[in-house]
C-alpha cells in the first residue's frame, strides 16, 4: 500500500555500481584509515578508525570472502587490521572470543544503497536522492545529500552486518551524478563516514525511468532511442572537454572526464539484456567502461557478454514484475551468471533489504541448486563481500579476510546463509561497533533520541 508506493519510487531511483569479477590482483594493501589518501580532493574524508582491542575469534567456521573456507579456524584482529587467518594460531596478547559453532565473514558490503539520500523518516523534506530536474546531472555529488543521522545505517550494521556501502543518486535521469562510498560508522558529518581512498562511482540509468520522467515533461528523452542520443551527445561533449586543457572548472565535465580517465567507476542501472548490450557498445564507442550493471534482472540472458566485457551484475535475489522492464526477472539470475563465469554481486537498493543481504544471497544460491547449479557457500559469501568491494574499487582494502586488510568483520551466531542466524558482533577497522550481547554497543541516531523505542533492539 503506502509501502508499495514508496518501494516503487525507490526502485525508480535505483542506480548501480559494480566492477569486475573476482579475479587475482588482490595483494593486500593499505589498511585502516589514511585520510591523506583523499588529500587534494574537496570534501575529503575525515574518518579515522576507532580504538579496538586485539581480538582473536577462535573456533569459527570462516568464509574469507574470496572463496576460501576454514573450519574450526581463527581470525586475529589488531590495530585495525586483519593480522592472520588460519588454524591453530597462537592467541597470546589477544582477547579471545570463543566462536565455536559460530561463523566469521568479512563485513557485509552493499554496493547499492540510498541510506542517507532517501533516509527515514521518508518525508519530502528528506528526499534528496535525485536531482531529476535535467536528464543529465553529472555535476551533482550525492555526498552533499547524505544525512548521517539516517537511522537506517544502524539497522544495516546491527541486523545486516554491513560495514561499507555505496550511496548512489537515483535513476530518474540518465546521469545521476557521483556516488560516495562510506564506512558504516556513525559520524556527525558525511566526511566522517567517507571511505578513505575509495574511488568515486558515477550513476547512470537506462530504460524506463529517464524516458518516463522527462517524456512526461514534454522534453527529451521520451524514448529509449532518446536516452541513447542524449547520453552519446553528452559523452561527445565531455570527450571534447577532456581533450582540452581542462582549466575551466566545469563540474559535470570534470566528473565525466574522470570516468573517461578510468578514475571514476560507472554504475549503470539497467534491467533488460538487450539494453545492457547496447550500453556496453556505447561505452566502447565513447571510451569508458561500465563497471557494473545494477538491478540487471535479465543479466542471465547475456552472461556470456557480461563475462567477455568484464562487467559485474549487482542484483536482487528475487525482485521481479514491479515494472515492465523487470517482468523477466527470475530467482536463478545469480546462479546462471555464476555458471557463465560472470561477476555476481547481491545488492539491496532498499533500507530493509540491506539488513538481510546474506539471506538474499542464500535464496539466490538455493534457486541455483534447484536447477542443478551448486554454488559453494564460500563463493556465495563473496557475492555480498569481496565481489561488491571489487566492483566498488576498494577490494585491496576490504571485502576479504586477508592479512593487512581492514578488520571489517562479522561474527555470526550461526551459518550466515541460514535464516536463523544473526550478526553477533561487528567490527569496523577493528573497532567493535555492534555487539548483540551488549545493549549499549548499538548506535542510536540523533533523530531517535527521546523517542519511543530509543535504543531498542530494532
Amino acid at each position: 500500500m503506502l509501502g508499495r508506493t514508496l518501494i516503487a519510487l525507490g526502485c525508480a531511483m535505483a542506480l548501480g555500481a559494480c566492477s569486475t569479477m573476482d579475479g587475482g590482483g588482490g595483494e593486500p594493501a593499505a589498511s585502516a584509515s589514511t585520510p591523506a589518501a583523499d588529500a587534494g580532493t574537496p570534501f575529503p574524508s575525515t574518518y579515522e578508525r576507532y580504538p579496538g582491542r586485539p581480538t582473536a575469534l577462535v573456533g569459527a567456521t570462516i568464509y574469507d570472502g574470496r572463496g576460501g573456507r576454514i573450519d574450526n579456524g581463527t581470525v586475529l584482529l589488531r590495530d585495525g587490521q586483519v593480522i592472520e587467518v588460519g588454524s591453530d594460531l597462537a592467541t597470546d596478547g589477544y582477547d579471545v572470543v570463543d566462536a565455536t559453532g559460530k561463523f566469521v565473514t568479512p563485513g557485509v558490503i552493499d554496493i547499492h544503497s540510498h541510506l542517507g539520500d532517501y533516509p527515514t523518516p521518508s518525508v519530502d523534506a528528506h528526499s534528496d536522492g535525485n536531482e531529476a530536474t535535467s536528464p543529465t546531472t553529472p555535476e551533482v555529488w550525492v555526498e552533499h545529500s547524505v544525512w548521517p543521522q539516517d537511522p537506517g545505517f544502524s539497522r544495516a550494521l546491527a541486523n545486516g552486518g554491513g560495514t561499507s556501502l555505496q550511496i548512489l543518486p537515483g535513476s530518474a535521469n540518465l546521469m545521476g551524478g557521483r556516488s560516495v562510498t562510506l564506512k558504516n560508522v556513525p559520524a556527525r558529518t558525511v566526511q566522517g563516514m567517507k571511505f578513505p581512498g575509495a574511488p568515486y562511482g558515477f550513476k547512470m540509468a537506462c530504460g524506463e525511468n529517464p524516458k518516463r520522467v522527462y517524456g512526461n515533461r514534454g522534453r527529451m528523452p521520451s524514448t529509449r532511442m532518446g536516452n541513447f542520443a542524449v547520453n552519446r551527445q553528452t559523452w561527445l561533449d565531455a570527450k571534447a572537454y577532456a581533450a582540452g586543457d581542462r582549466k575551466r572548472r566545469d563540474l559535470g565535465n570534470e566528473t565525466l572526464a574522470g570516468v573517461l580517465d578510468g578514475d571514476i567507476l560507472v554504475h549503470n542501472h539497467c534491467y533488460r539484456a538487450d539494453e545492457m548490450a547496447l550500453v556496453m557498445d556505447m561505452a566502447k564507442e565513447m571510451g569508458y567502461k561500465v563497471t557494473a550493471f545494477h538491478h540487471a534482472v535479465e543479466a542471465y540472458k547475456i552472461g556470456d557478454l557480461l563475462r567477455e566485457n568484464d562487467v559485474c551484475s549487482a542484483i536482487w535475489a528475487d525482485w521481479y514484475g514491479f515494472k515492465m522492464e523487470s517482468y523477466d526477472g527470475i530467482p536463478e539470475n545469480a546462479a546462471l551468471l555464476w555458471k557463465s563465469g560472470a561477476c555476481v554481486v547481491i545488492h539491496s537498493d532498499d533500507a530493509n533489504g540491506i539488513q538481510r543481504l546474506n539471506q538474499e544471497a542464500a535464496k539466490a544460491q538455493a534457486a541455483g541448486q534447484r536447477m542443478g547449479l551448486d554454488v559453494p557457500d564460500a563463493d556465495v559469501v563473496g557475492w555480498f563481500t569481496y565481489n561488491a568491494a571489487k566492483a566498488m574499487g576498494i577490494e585491496k582494502m576490504t571485502g576479504s579476510l586477508e592479512p593487512g586488510k581492514m578488520a571489517d568483520v562479522v561474527l555470526w551466531n550461526g551459518d550466515p546463509l541460514s535464516v536463523y542466524s544473526r550478526p553477533e558482533k561487528v567490527w569496523v577497522d577493528g573497532a567493535l561497533l555492534y555487539d548483540a550481547m551488549d545493549r549499549k554497543r548499538r548506535p542510536v541516531s540523533d533523530f531517535e533520541l527521546g523517542q519511543p523505542g530509543e535504543g531498542d533492539v530494532k
Binding site: M1, G3, A8, V123, D318, E332, A362, L417, V419
Partner: protein, 431 residues
C-alpha cells in the same frame, strides 16, 4: 460471533471439493499442522475427498489411497497470505494492468475486488509455485479512506478463484488515511465517524441521499461493517491511532476489527489483546518510515504475541511489496530473533502459525484453512526442507486436495536460458 458463524457456514458451501481431488497419504515426513505446535517427525498426512482426514505420527495409511513418500520432506498447510494484491496486478508499474486501486472512481467502500481478480496472473502463478494456496486480496484505499471490499481466494489452477467475495472492508487511518481523508487526522476521523453513521442510517431505512456525504452504493456497502457481518480491516501504525480505533466500538459495538500495519502495536499490546482484536503486521519493519512508525522494531510481533494478541504476517516491506512468497523467510527471521538478547521473537511453531492458521482464522476460516486439523480443506504443501528456511521450496502443492501445476513464466525462462547456445536456432525456438 453469530454473524461470524453464519459467514463460515455460507462459505463452506463454496468449499466443496472439486471432482479432481485426489485421495493420498504423505508418509515419513516432518509434519507441522500450523496450529502453533512444533513439527513432528516421521508423521503422516491423510487426505480424502479434498479434506484432511488426519495428520500426525503413528497413523495407519488407509487402503486405496495414493501413498507419497515424504522421507526427508516437510509437510504443512498451504501458506495463507493474510493481505496481498495477488490477481489484481500483472505489473505494478504498468497502470493498465494494475487494478489494486481506483483513485478516480466516485465510489470507495463499494469497490469490490472479486470481479477484478485474474487467476492467470503470473504473480499469482509464481506465488502458487512457492506454496501459497489461499490469500486475502485487498484493494488499496485511493478514492477516499475506504478502499473497498476484499476477497478470500484460492490460488488453484482453475477458473474459480473466489473462496469468499466481499469478505472484508478496508479503511486507512494514520498518515495514509490523513492524506486521503482531507489532509489531516481530524479529517480522517470525521470522515470515518460520519460514514459509519450514514451507513447505520441507510441500513435502518433512514437514508437521505441529498444530505449524505457517501454515495448510495458506499452507504450500502458499509452496512455489513456496522452490523459486524463484514470485518473492517484498519490500516493504522501509531500507538495513539491504535488506541483511538479500539475506542470506536463504544459507538459501534458490533464492529469486527482487524488491524493492519500496527508498527507501534507493541506499545499498546495489552490494549489490543484486551480488545480481542487480531493484527496483520509487517514482521521486520524496524525503520521510522513515518512519524507514525517511530517505535518500529522487529520485536513488535513477538511482543504482541506475548501479550496475547493474535498476529499474522502481512504487508511486508523489503523487496518489492508484492512478494508474499517471502512471508516464510520473514517468519523464519522472527524465530532468529529469539536468540538476540532484548529482542522478542516467536517459536518455530508460532512463526508458522502467523502464515497459516492465524491469517485463516482472521479471514473467517479458522479450523477450515491454514491447518491440517481433521476436516480441514486439503490445502497441503510438501517441502524439500524446513519451510521457514530461505533455501526451501515446495515439491508438491495441493489446493482442495488437487495437485497443482507449478510452471509459470519464470520457470519457462529458467529452462530456456539454462544455456546460451544458439548454434542451431535462436532462443525463440526453445520452448
Amino acid at each position: 460471533m453469530i454473524a461470524r458463524l453464519l459467514l463460515v457456514a455460507t462459505a463452506t458451501l463454496a468449499l466443496v471439493a472439486p471432482a479432481a481431488a485426489q485421495d493420498f497419504a504423505i508418509t515419513n515426513a516432518t509434519v507441522a499442522t500450523g496450529d502453533g505446535s512444533a513439527p513432528v517427525e516421521n508423521a503422516t498426512v491423510v487426505v480424502q475427498n479434498g479434506r484432511v482426514v488426519a495428520a500426525g505420527a503413528g497413523l495407519a495409511t488407509p487402503a486405496g489411497v495414493e501413498v507419497i513418500d515424504g522421507s526427508g520432506k516437510w509437510v504443512t498447510p498451504g501458506i495463507f497470505s493474510a493481505i496481498t494484491t495477488l490477481g489484481l496486478v500483472d505489473v505494478d508499474g504498468v497502470s493498465e494492468s494494475n487494478d489494486t486501486s481506483a483513485g478516480r472512481s466516485p465510489f470507495s467502500a463499494a469497490l469490490d475486488v472479486a470481479p477484478a481478480i485474474n487467476p492467470a496472473s503470473q504473480q499469482l502463478l509464481v506465488a502458487r509455485a512457492d506454496g501459497i494456496t489461499r490469500a486475502s486480496i485487498a484493494p488499496q484505499p485511493a478514492s477516499g479512506i475506504f478502499g473497498g471490499q476484499g476477497a478470500v481466494i484460492d490460488l488453484g489452477a482453475d477458473a474459480e478463484p473466489i473462496t469468499k467475495a466481499r469478505a472484508f472492508q478496508i479503511v486507512a487511518l494514520g498518515e495514509t488515511g490523513a492524506r486521503l481523508g482531507g489532509g489531516g487526522r481530524t479529517g480522517t476521523y470525521a470522515w470515518l465517524d460520519n460514514a459509519l453513521h450514514e451507513a447505520q442510517a441507510y441500513a435502518a431505512g433512514r437514508w437521505s441521499g441529498e444530505d449524505a456525504e457517501l454515495t448510495r452504493a458506499d452507504a450500502a456497502a458499509l452496512g455489513p461493517v456496522v452490523s459486524g457481518k463484514q470485518a473492517l480491516y484498519v490500516h493504522v501504525e501509531r500507538a495513539s491511532d491504535i488506541r483511538e480505533i479500539l475506542q470506536l466500538r463504544r459507538d459501534f459495538p458490533n464492529l469486527d476489527l482487524v488491524l493492519l500495519g500496527v508498527s507501534e502495536g507493541w506499545l499498546v499490546a495489552d490494549d489490543i489483546a484486551a480488545a480481542g482484536v487480531p493484527v496483520i503486521a509487517d514482521p521486520l519493519d524496524d525503520l521510522p518510515t513515518g512519524f507514525d512508525q517511530i517505535a518500529a522494531t522487529q520485536s513488535n510481533i513477538g511482543r504482541m504475541q506475548k501479550a496475547g494478541v493474535k498476529v499474522a504476517i502481512g504487508r511486508m516491506e523489503g523487496g518489492t511489496a508484492e512478494q508474499p512468497r517471502n512471508a516464510r523467510q520473514y517468519a523464519g527471521n522472527l524465530v532468529a530473533l529469539t536468540r538476540v538478547p532484548g529482542a522478542d521473537g516467536l517459536s518455530w511453531g508460532q512463526a508458522l502459525a502467523t502464515i497459516t492458521s492465524i491469517p485463516a482464522a482472521i479471514s473467517g476460516f479458522g479450523g477450515q484453512l491454514g491447518t491440517l486439523a481433521p476436516g480441514a480443506i486439503a490445502d497441503v504443501v510438501m517441502w524439500d526442507g524446513d519451510p521457514l528456511e530461505v533455501g526451501s521450496v515446495p515439491v508438491a502443492v495441493f489446493i482442495d486436495g488437487v495437485r497443482q501445476p507449478v510452471e509459470n513464466h519464470q520457470t519457462r525462462l529458467r529452462e530456456r536460458y539454462r544455456d546460451l547456445d544458439e548454434s542451431d536456432l535462436p532462443k525463440a525456438y526453445d520452448w
